[in-house]
């Protein structure tokens, strides 16, 4: 567990929770990124504009940290492209069918004590763990 970073994890998590709190308190909206993303091309007017603003903010927040942090994150190179394409497709498909992702169900829905979100969170955690196990320890792909 030498990669474990408990302090920054708790701190970053608290920021995400605070963001969700602000969005609900002021705008009455749920900070579920898959829903905000998918609505970008399916909504109109004010319902669309706040999504654009949030997503621009999301990029700005990440970019400013990467710019100012003393230790910028170095990203992996040459990860298998088919895994990215098929995996990305499944993330899009699954989050729409299941009405949420790590933020919508995992944080906001669970914070509302929604049984659906708890069931969804347990399910995607389980299938995620199983998938990584198969990829890394059975098929020995990449990492």
């Amino acid at each position: 567990m030498q990669n474990f970073t408990p302090i920054s994890a708790l701190l970053g998590g608290a920021l995400i929770g605070f963001s969700a709190f602000l969005l609900l308190w002021f705008n009455g909206r749920i900070a579920g990124v898959s829903s905000i993303m998918s609505g970008l091309f399916t909504t109109q007017g004010a319902n669309r504009h706040w999504r654009i603003a949030f997503l621009i903010g999301l990029m700005l927040g990440a970019a400013s940290w990467q710019f100012f942090a003393t230790e910028a994150i170095t990203f992996r190179q040459n990860y298998p492209l088919p895994l990215m394409i098929v995996g990305g497709f499944l993330v899009g498909l699954g989050t729409r069918l299941g009405s949420g992702c790590t933020s919508g169900h995992g944080i906001c829905g669970n914070a509302l004590l929604s049984p659906r979100s708890m069931a969804a969170t347990l399910t995607f955690m389980a299938s995620g763990l199983l998938t990584v196990y198969l990829i890394r320890h059975i098929f020995h792909i990449n990492a």
Binding site: S19, N27, G98, I107
Partner: protein
């Protein structure tokens, strides 16, 4: 107008949170999902930190009739567990495990000049489209 400013600020704080916690790094996420390898429990603490703020925060917010800048809360709390919910979550988990990206970090990473993020976001939108197609038919 204030709603847009608020959404922008919430997005910035969310993006900062993803960066501070390193959830923006797919290797970090896969390190959490790889329990039989060199396990990194950080992601569990990210969720714990977020819930520690959001659970009491949401509870307090919902004592109000409406949000500060809006006419109503856009919340649907259903209790019914159905097949689309579980199968959708299962498919999402498979894609998450294949890539190390969920939607938030994927979109946030678009600003980091990270080519993978572009591929990820385009593929996610293809998945959205497919889900919309399935729901229409």
């Amino acid at each position: 107008m204030m709603k847009l400013v608020l959404a922008l600020i919430a997005g910035i704080i969310f993006g900062l949170g993803l960066s501070v916690s390193q959830m923006i790094n797919p290797d970090k996420v896969l390190g959490f999902l790889d329990i039989s390898g060199n396990w990194d429990p950080s992601l569990a603490l990210v969720m714990a930190g977020a819930l520690a703020v959001a659970i009491p925060g949401f509870k307090w917010v919902r004592r109000h009739d409406k949000p500060l800048l809006g006419s109503r809360f856009h919340i649907t709390v259903k209790s019914l567990l159905d097949k689309p919910l579980i199968s959708g979550a299962a498919l999402f988990g498979i894609g998450w495990g294949m890539t190390g990206y969920c939607p938030g970090p994927a979109f946030a990473s678009l600003s980091l000049g990270n080519q993978e993020a572009v591929i990820m976001v385009v593929s996610i939108y293809a998945g959205f489209w497919a889900a919309g197609f399935l729901n229409r038919n």
